[in-house]
Structure formats: C-alpha cells, structure tokens
Symmetry: C2
Subunit: 558 residues, 2 copies
C-alpha cells in the first residue's frame, strides 16, 4: 500500500470502525456535524465569496481528452452561474479509466477505503462551499443545502463505504485448505482471494439532491475498485464537479490516476447518459431520477448492475390521533420542506370520509383536512421563515405542474408564490393541497412531483389500507406514514409496510418527520417496490459491485 | 417461533455456527461425510431396492391443484424409470404459495433457518437413495452420484444457508435511536427492522447436476423467506422430487404450509419455464443450463433477480512443468470424469507450438499433446475403472456432438464407446481430444459440451494468455488451469484470472483437479464473466433475496 494511502487510512481508522459499528447497531451516530456552528468561522463566512469566485468561468478538472465545453446552470434563485466544464470524449475517457483500474484494484481494500475516507473528510471541511453550490443549483434553502448537501450526504457516503468495507472484510485474503485423507497425508492447497471490481461505474446524479443521492453509489463503487464516472444533471453540475475535484486531488496525492473519478457533464439538448449507460465497459449504474428513465435503464443496460431510485406515491394514512394539532403541524412541515421536492414528501393522505377519533373527541373528514391546510398556512405565514423552509423550485416544469394540478379536485389550500427578500427572481411556491375522493385514483395515484398533495376521502381505515396496498404495489413508495391509537390497527400498518416493502413512520407528532431519513439507522427506500430497486444503503447495495476471484496451488502443512 | 422449528434450530445450531466460521475462513470443512462408509449399512445396502420401489408409478407430493401428469425419464444406463408426477396448475400454485408466504416471513430468520437445517440433515441421511436417483437421471457413475449428488450438494446448500443466515444476522431486529439536541431533551425513536422476502423464487434445475446446482438457490431463497418452486429438467425430475418431498415433510412438521417448496415438473414437448419465469409473482430465478436460455432469462425476466450459471470455454494454459507425466495424469482425470459433462471440465488447452520447458528437458508441442492423449488412454484402459469414472452420457445430443466435432481438427485421441458390465445399453463414451491451430477459433472458441477438448498450438505463452483473455472475455469460463515454473509467468496468470474473473488453479499435478470445487472454500464461478452472473455462493448470492423494511415511532429513553 502507498504510504499516503496508509496514512489516510490510519487517520480515519476510528471513524471507519465506528461506522461499521453504526450500520450493525443502527443507532444514532454521525461523524459529520450537522450544526454549522461546529465549522470554523472562516470556512462559513468565506463560502459565499468563494462561490462567487467560481462563477462565469471554466471549472478545471483532470480530463483525459476534452470533447467540448458545456454548462448553462441557472440558480432557482434567479441568476446564471456561467460556469463551464470540459466534457470528456467518451471513448478516450473509458479507455483511460480502464487503464487506471488494475492499479486501483491491486492496491487492495485498505488503500482504497483510506482514499475514500480522506475524500469524505475533505468534502466535510468544505461543506459551507458545497452548500452554496447546492443552493444555487437545486434551489434548496441555505440551511437545508448545508445539512442535506454537506454532512448528511457525507454520512450516506460513509455508510455505503462502511458496507463496502464490511463486505470486503468478510472475504479472507488467503486460506490454507487441508483435507484429511484417512491414513494418507492430507491434501493441502494454498488459496488466495482477490476482490475484483466489475468495471466502470456510472453514477447519474439528480438536480434536487446532487450530492446526497450521489455519494452512496460513488463511494460503494470506488471502494470496491471500480472507476467512477459522475454524470451530473445539466441543471446541477457544480456540486458534483466540486466533489470530483476533491476526489481527483486525493487520488493523485495517494499515487493513483485522478481519472478514477471523472466528471461527464452534458446539456439538456445533447444528453449523453443513454450512450454511456449502454457502453459495454460500464458495468455498474447508479441512478436517481424519473421513473421513465430509471425503467429504461433497468430494461436496456443489461450489461450492468443497475441501482435505481425513482419515485412513487408516498403515503400517509390517518386512522386516529391523540391530538390533531401536533399531527397537522408535523405533516405541515413535511409538506413544506423544500416545497415538496423531496423523494420522501407525502403525496397521498388517506382519511376516512366519516372522520377520525381523537383523544379530544371525533373529528369530521373536513375538520381533519382543514386542520392540515391551516397548519401549513400558519407555518408559512411568516415570509422569511417560509422562504427558509420552502427553498426555491428547482425546475420550471414543477411550477407548471402546480398549475396543472389545481383542477384535479377541490382546493383545500392553494399554492401561492412568495418573494424572497434577497432574491426577488427566486421561484418560491407554497404547497397545493387538494381534496379528492377515493375513486379519483387518476388524480392521486400518479406521481405529482413538487408541492402537490391530496387528502383522500376513503370509506374507512381498512379501505385506506387497501388503497395504499394497491397504489404502492403498482407505483411504489419511498415513505409510508400512519397514525393510529389502536394497537390492532398499528399492527395492520406494520403488515402493510412489509407487504408493500415501504418503511413505516408511526404516529410522528414531534421533532421527527416522515420525509427525513437518518444515515446509519434508517434504510432509505427498500428496493422492494417500484419506487426504487435498491436501498441506500444495505448489503445488497455493495455486494454486487465486486466479485471474488481465487487462485489455488498445492501447499505444505505449516 | 414454533416449538418444532426451535428444536430443529437447536439440534443443528453447532453445524450452523461452524458453517458461518467456514465461509469466513474458507478453510477445509464439511459436516456431511463424502465417504459412503460413514453411512449406516442398511441405508447403503437398501438404496437400490428403495429406488426400484419408486419406479413405474406416481411419485406423491403435496400439490395445491393438479393440472396433468408428466414424467418420461430414461436412465442414461438404458431403461425407462416410469415415474410420473403431478404438474400443478400454475395460477393456483402461485396463489397458494403467496398465501403461505406471510406466515413463513413472520416466523423469522431463526425458524426458517432451523427448518432448512433439518431438511439438509434428512437429505444427508438419504444420500444413498439420492445417489440412485442421480445416477439414473444424470448418468453420473454411482460413486460420483453419491458424492456430488449427496454430501457435496448438501455442503453447497449449507454454504448458501450460512451466507443467508450471516446476511440476515447483520440486520438488527430493533434499535433505539437517540439523537442529542444540545440543551434540550434528545430525540428518541424506537425502530424495528423486518427481513422481507422478495416473492416467489423459481429454481430451474439442470439434467447433469440436479441437486448440486439446485441446493444453493433453494436454501438461499427459502431461508430468506421466499417460497420456492423447483422446476426440474424433464430428464432429471426424480432427485429434485425427492428433495421437495423431504422439504415438504419438514415444513409440515414445523407447522408451515408444505407448498412453500413445490415441484413444477414439465416435459420437453410442453416446457413451462418461460411462462413461469415471466409470472409477475416470480421475483427470484436461479438457473443452471444453456447460455441461450440463461441469456433469455437475463433479458426478459426483468421483474426478477436472475442468478444464472451457464457455460463458457474452460481453459488450461501450459507454459512449463516440472514433469509432464503427473500433469498429464492430472488433466486426464479432469477430462475423463463424468465424460467431460461437468461445467468445470477444461475444453481449451493452450500449448506453445515450439514446445515447453520441463525439469527433465524441453518437450515439443506434439510430445505434450501426445502425453495428454496417452494419459487419458491409459487411465481408461481398464474398462471397469473407465465406466466408474466416465459414467454415462446424459443426453443423446451430447453423443451426436462427439461425432460432429471429430472433423474440427486433427484427432489426437478418438472417442470410443464402451460397454458397461451391468448395463449393456448405457451410453458410455471416452474423451475426444483434437489438435488445432490458434487461428481455428471457430473450433475451440465455441462451447462443445461433453467429452470434447482441444489442444491449441499458440505462438508462445504470451499468445496463449492473450487468446485466453479474448475467448474468456467474450464467452466466459468457470475454470482456468495453468502450469508454469516461472514466478513471473505465474503472476501473469494471476493477473489474467483477475482480468477475466475466472478462478485459477495453478500447477495441479496431485490429488486435486481443476474441475473440482469444494464448498466453504472454493467459490464456484465468480459471476464476473459471461459463463455465470452469480457465484455459488457469496454475499451477492444471498443479499438480493430479501429487503429490509423498517418501522419507527417516538420512544422513551431507557
């Protein structure tokens, strides 16, 4: 192992060991502080200026052979970034990465994991800078961009790395095989076991969570020996490019070819993902994005192991509650955060048409619906707070979708646009809440990405469960929330969760929200329903990224 | 957990723990004796009679809804078995198995693994009976049918079970998540994690190793909660049916629905595999057989996780040897065993046209080729021994292929038919060995299943390596043997093995053979080249057979 890689591993060995402990116990843990106060003042205060210094010019990375210049990012807060990037020539890039692979493979798991840990550590230190880039590509509000784009994304990267390390550690490097032969001398074989990567790994990032959804695939693949092509969304290149630059610097310092992590930016007009995904050298694909493209990858990129996170119909079922107010407040936060642009935001909220029981007496359907609408309204009544929670709408298509969905039912709470104090051109819109009947499946049973949710009147909780089972069975879901005071109904929710393979959040009415998912403890998506074919992260997420190649020869007894 | 399942687990707990230790250290271990002398005399002596008592009548299994009767097995030793089987009606079978799944899922990993261990233990006890069924379907000679069909197959089943147990054990049942909130009370969540099966598992067995290649998929799927449909090859139903019967008995005794392991026999004229494989309820498919059908499954059964073991161009490269005689004897055994009908039998043997170095002086290409041919000839000169090694040819298509291949090059050793002392109508044929030039890729670069191998004249060992890299890269290989006295060349072989993801056997010239693969130590196939997309068994073989579904709710500090 190179001395540099060894030092990197030594420096972070405790973090690695603790991370493996965390994925085993799945209790609370994070090595990367989510409170910005824990970061040096200079790092925080200078971030804006360093971000501005990146604008309106080329962003340099190591590129084997430059094809063309791309880059047309526009901040959802209303200005052009003007950053340009080299787009590598595909064939030359693949050849360079394949040439770099054997040395990376032969360096061994310890060296590779040491390098990955150092990359994560440096990414953590620059979290304030990443936050700027995430804000002005995804539209996330600054606090969320810092947490979700920085430490929480790094947590998810480290979690995947810990799974990869655990999986590789379970394969011994060598073995002596001694088979007794009765009275004769035993048969003895000396065996070696090599971790062998599958090939080039393509990680296709999304525009809303350019780092959080990208780090698991990046680190799982890189640690197991696969060179990684990062293919950012054309609208959110910068956070991915910054990641690639850090990875290239660390790889080079440790004595490896920096092209082992390469950026392949493209444009909306000339996308390259399909061609890349079908390249015979590409053996692993991680993808976050639309169902249509995810399913295309699953069907067509058959030379590769494909890990997709797509979308589904995230669901909340309300059977009964203690008090409606904290429940409505809890859900109001989930509906508002990042304007419902999270892959975990609830879309379908099932409530019995005859109302629900509460500890304070019965509530009609309309009272429940109205409590929800009012909670959102109140939560967003202060415009500064609203802007700090909602962030901006990433895509103009999402804004258009709000308008398209108004007619799908009875508007309980209309979406309104807001003006940001510092960014008057920012795309800021509050949630749209619509009341529909259970038979309006065409309305609520299709994914409506953005701040668009439905309160659905059902015959009963049993009917709600039946509908959720059908809709999630067909379309998938990444989250399932449920409320009940009845243990028997709680058990039905637990069974529903298992039947449709969606993680259940039960009776959340305090500081934890259905759309939040904590690394090392919460499995994000299960891989068992149509919303995602993989989970971030579990054993299945890493075990397919390498194979074990053994050799054996006659040996001697010790 | 049912008391019965608990007792089963307790009874075999030590075996399970030792198996997990074995897959971790990968040293020699087996709980199931391969020496028939270790089995009770009555079990061994009565096997033939018990086998004969099964013939010419229906073989009873639990079947939800019988469609039709099938069964037309003919022993490669020359007689009709006359056993008939119920073919279940597909839709009714799937519905019954889906109905049985939740109870099996909710029973938990311990109960399921206990049941699987008991099934394996009972299968082990009846190894002599299984050997009869394997002999008279696959054509394996009795000793091999006993070992490969009995204890070695059980070893592979237990190995997969150990991986499944290890993978499930790495997911905690519960966790308490306590997140500090500075001066405020911490956030506390109580979490549960459920192992949730993917759905119906289809295990498609082959005619040559009906148990060995079937047990890994069967036990990996069953242990992780998936009901299993065993789809035997129409020519080798009986060993699989006997397995299903044992599984059904144990399941029923432990209080579970016996249809959790169901047999779906079919006929060559009316095959059912395609329709079954595309059933939306089928979420896992294990397949051993031809490349054409394996690739069809990989491309079309996209609703399922597909694990295939197909075929490739198994390769031996000879660079130099100490003494040619033990090397030739070693390879002669590999070429002869079960008439080359193993998925591990070498087909392409590369030798430099200018000959090789040995410790006894140089040998020309023709001397090497002739040493090989003579070693086979001598090894099979005694007809009784030949019959006990060769077994019978499973399929008439394989006999025809021997004739078709004679013209592909210069015959070094012709295949001859032999007469078995007890079974005069048995299909017994010795190996065909053909000399070709490196440029005759059409001859040696296509799979020629059966006792057909090529000695290929190359420019040099470097050329041999280059050819092997190309051919295996394109067609795959399950085994790679190599011979050299030069450490630098040995390292090139090691690199070749990693580059093409084929396990290397180096310089085998004593009692271990390239076509033998020991459970718990040797990974059979890697899953990294076109010959197989999965390995028997590793973490990737089990991790995709279940997902983890969690639930969480507010909790209290302890």
């Amino acid at each position: 192992m190179s001395q540099q890689a060894q030092q990197m591993l030594d420096r972070h060995r405790e973090t690695l060991d603790r991370a493996v402990e965390a994925i085993t116990s799945r209790d609370y843990w994070s090595p990367y502080p989510e409170n910005i106060k824990n970061y040096p003042e200079e790092a925080v205060k200078g971030a804006k200026q360093r971000f501005e210094a990146l604008l309106k010019q080329p962003f340099a990375l190591k590129v084997p052979a430059v094809g063309r210049q791309v880059g047309a990012e526009v901040s959802p807060y209303g200005f052009e970034l003007g950053v340009t990037y080299d787009q590598p020539e595909q064939e030359a890039l693949i050849m360079a990465m394949q040439a770099a692979m054997p040395a990376w493979r032969d360096a061994g798991a310890e060296a590779r994991v040491g390098v990955c840990l150092e990359i994560l550590s440096r990414l953590n230190a620059m979290s304030p800078d990443i936050a700027q880039a995430v804000t002005h590509t995804s539209g996330q509000a600054p606090m969320m961009a810092f947490q979700a784009g920085g430490p929480h994304a790094q947590d998810r990267g480290l979690e995947a790395l810990a799974y990869a390390w655990q999986a590789m550690s379970q394969v011994p490097g060598t073995a002596k095989w001694v088979k007794p032969q009765g009275k004769h001398e035993p048969l003895v074989l000396d065996k070696r076991y090599h971790i062998v990567p599958r090939g080039i790994s393509l990680v296709v990032a999304c525009s809303t969570f350019p780092t959080w959804n990208t780090f698991p695939g990046l680190f799982a693949s890189l640690a197991t020996g696969n060179p990684v092509i990062l293919k950012p969304h054309p609208a959110a290149i910068l956070p991915v490019a910054m990641t690639a630059r850090v990875a290239q610097e660390v790889l080079e310092e440790a004595g490896f070819d920096p092209s082992l992590v390469s950026l392949m930016p493209d444009t909306a007009e000339a996308p390259v993902t399909k061609e890349l995904a079908l390249d015979p050298a590409v053996k692993l694909i991680d993808y976050t994005g639309s169902n249509a493209f995810g399913e295309w990858l699953e069907r067509n990129a058959i030379q590769a192991q494909v890990f997709t996170e797509k979308a589904g119909i995230n669901t909340v079922i309300i059977d009964s509650v203690d008090q409606i107010k904290p429940v409505a407040q809890n859900l109001a936060f989930s509906l508002s955060l990042y304007s419902g642009q999270m892959c975990t935001t609830p879309q379908a909220i099932y409530v019995p048409k005859n109302g629900i029981k509460t500890a304070e007496g019965p509530l009609s359907f309309d009272q429940v619906a109205s409590a929800l609408a009012k909670a959102v309204e109140k939560f967003l009544s202060d415009n500064d707070r609203a802007c700090a929670v909602l962030g901006a709408i990433q895509s103009v298509a999402t804004v258009a979708r709000i308008d398209e969905c108004r007619g799908l039912g009875e508007v309980l709470l209309d979406s309104e646009s807001r003006e940001h104090a510092d960014f008057p051109r920012a795309r800021i819109h509050t949630p749209l809440l619509i009341k529909v009947d259970a038979n309006q499946r065409d309305a609520y049973g299709e994914e409506r990405f953005g701040p668009i949710s439905f309160v659905i009147a059902t015959e009963s909780t049993a009917h709600s469960i039946e509908l959720a089972r059908e809709v999630i069975g067909e379309k998938g879901a990444i989250t399932l929330g449920a409320y009940t005071n009845d243990d028997a109904v709680a058990e039905q929710f637990e069974q529903l969760a298992m039947d449709v393979a969606a993680p259940l959040s039960l009776n959340l009415d305090r500081g934890v929200f259905v759309n939040q998912s904590a690394a090392f403890s919460d499995f994000h998506a299960t891989g068992g329903n149509p919303a995602a074919n993989a989970s971030l992260s579990d054993q299945a997420f890493v075990a397919r990224r390498f194979v074990v190649v053994q050799s054996r020869r006659h040996g001697q007894l010790n």
